[in-house]
């Protein structure tokens, strides 16, 4: 499946979940699939998407928090998975859009194009609810399964790079205000 198809599938299933999305192509595709105030688009801080989502999950225990990360981004901050494994926030779902390349910067191969297995990493640090999916039907099935079962969850969606068609708002403070207002924290 292409990344945009995976993101459309995720976007379609969202209800009131705040989503933190990694900078670059994942953020562009989430915007194209469906902009909403509860999307927190990052424009920098590569590697911190999942960590921001962890902070939200700790602060908002009654909400399910979704991180949309990339393989290249998550590989910059694998320690964040160990923190999540140790703290075990039940309301956190990490979806890694794993295309095996740094798609935003010219397609350089990441370690997941070779031997690195992010589902295996998640399991090894104590995130037992970890799955790898390769098509939209399997992605939709695991997303529905994650709704009814305590996390933390990590879903590695194997995707192909696709060309983004749009960009989210460039104003970071606007993104923050809109997001916090939708969360009723402003």
């Amino acid at each position: 499946m292409k990344r945009i198809d995976a993101i459309r599938c995720i976007s379609k299933l969202l209800t009131d979940e705040p989503v933190v999305v990694s900078l670059g192509h994942p953020a562009y595709d989430l915007y194209a699939a469906g902009d909403r105030p509860l999307n927190f688009y990052t424009w920098g801080s590569m590697g911190l998407t999942t960590s921001i989502a962890l902070g939200l999950a700790l602060a908002c225990p009654d909400r399910r928090i979704v991180a949309l990360d990339g393989d290249g981004s998550l590989l910059m901050n694998l320690g964040s998975l160990a923190t999540i494994g140790a703290g075990a926030p039940p309301n956190l779902l990490i979806v890694v859009l794993d295309n095996g390349v740094h798609g935003t910067t010219g397609g350089q191969h990441t370690a997941t194009a070779g031997k690195a297995d992010l589902e295996g990493v998640a399991r090894a640090v104590g995130i037992a609810q970890a799955r790898t999916v390769r098509d939209e039907a399997a992605l939709e099935a695991v997303l529905r399964e994650s709704r009814g079962s305590a996390g933390p969850w990590m879903v590695v969606a194997k995707v192909r790079e696709s060309s983004p068609a749009a960009k989210p708002p460039l104003d970071c403070v606007f993104i923050k205000h809109r997001f916090m207002a939708a969360l009723c924290n402003l």
Binding site: V20, F40, L48, S51, G55, L58, A59, C60, M180
Partner: protein
């Protein structure tokens, strides 16, 4: 030798409890910080112990790296909390892009408590370059900072920095010099 400093640094009536960590904890709590994200060092361990002992409503989360800690703190703020970040001066160097492209760019506040190395009293050369760079780096980023140089001023200075951070939605920092945390010098 160090009798005066040692006694001065004790909190009355609580044997073994240091005055400066108690002041920092009181300042954090009075400022509404109920979330602490940290990468530990020796001086910070006094703060963490005092928090655990005296403020059970404060949650402490250990990160693997300071950059990660800034990400967690940003999420905590977005979710309605007032996060404090505890790290060593060396760790600020690990966190700089997140400081710029996440906290400052999105106007996400956090209160940094930075345990200094490389300042007077230091014995480890590896700590000196980053330690010396802390103040110029914070100034370059426009992050206001103050140095807690007396134990009895700790609570007030933490409260002032927290008011600045959370009132104006910008990071602010309290620096803990070694002459505060390791009076007489060692370790």
């Amino acid at each position: 030798m160090n009798d005066l400093g040692g006694n001065f640094n004790q909190r009355a009536g609580t044997p073994g409890a240091l005055l400066w960590p108690a002041g920092i904890c009181a300042g954090l709590h009075a400022s509404g910080c109920r979330e602490v994200v940290y990468v530990p060092d020796n001086p910070l361990s006094h703060i963490l112990r005092a928090l655990e002992r005296d403020y059970p409503d404060v949650r402490s989360t250990m990160a693997t790296r300071e950059e990660e800690a800034l990400g967690i703190a940003a999420g905590l703020y977005l979710g309605g909390s007032r996060p404090a970040l505890l790290m060593q001066s060396s760790g600020l160097g690990n966190a700089l892009n997140a400081l710029g492209s996440l906290l400052l760019c999105y106007q996400i506040p956090a209160l940094f408590i930075i345990s200094m190395r490389g300042d007077p009293g230091e014995w480890n050369a590896a700590q000196v370059p980053m330690g010396r760079a802390v103040v110029p780096v914070l100034d370059a980023f426009g992050v206001q900072h103050l140095t807690i140089d007396r134990p009895e001023a700790a609570e007030e200075m933490v409260r002032a920095a927290a008011a600045l951070a959370f009132g104006t939605r910008n990071p602010a920092a309290c620096l803990l010099p070694r002459r505060l945390t390791v009076p007489g010098g060692q370790a």
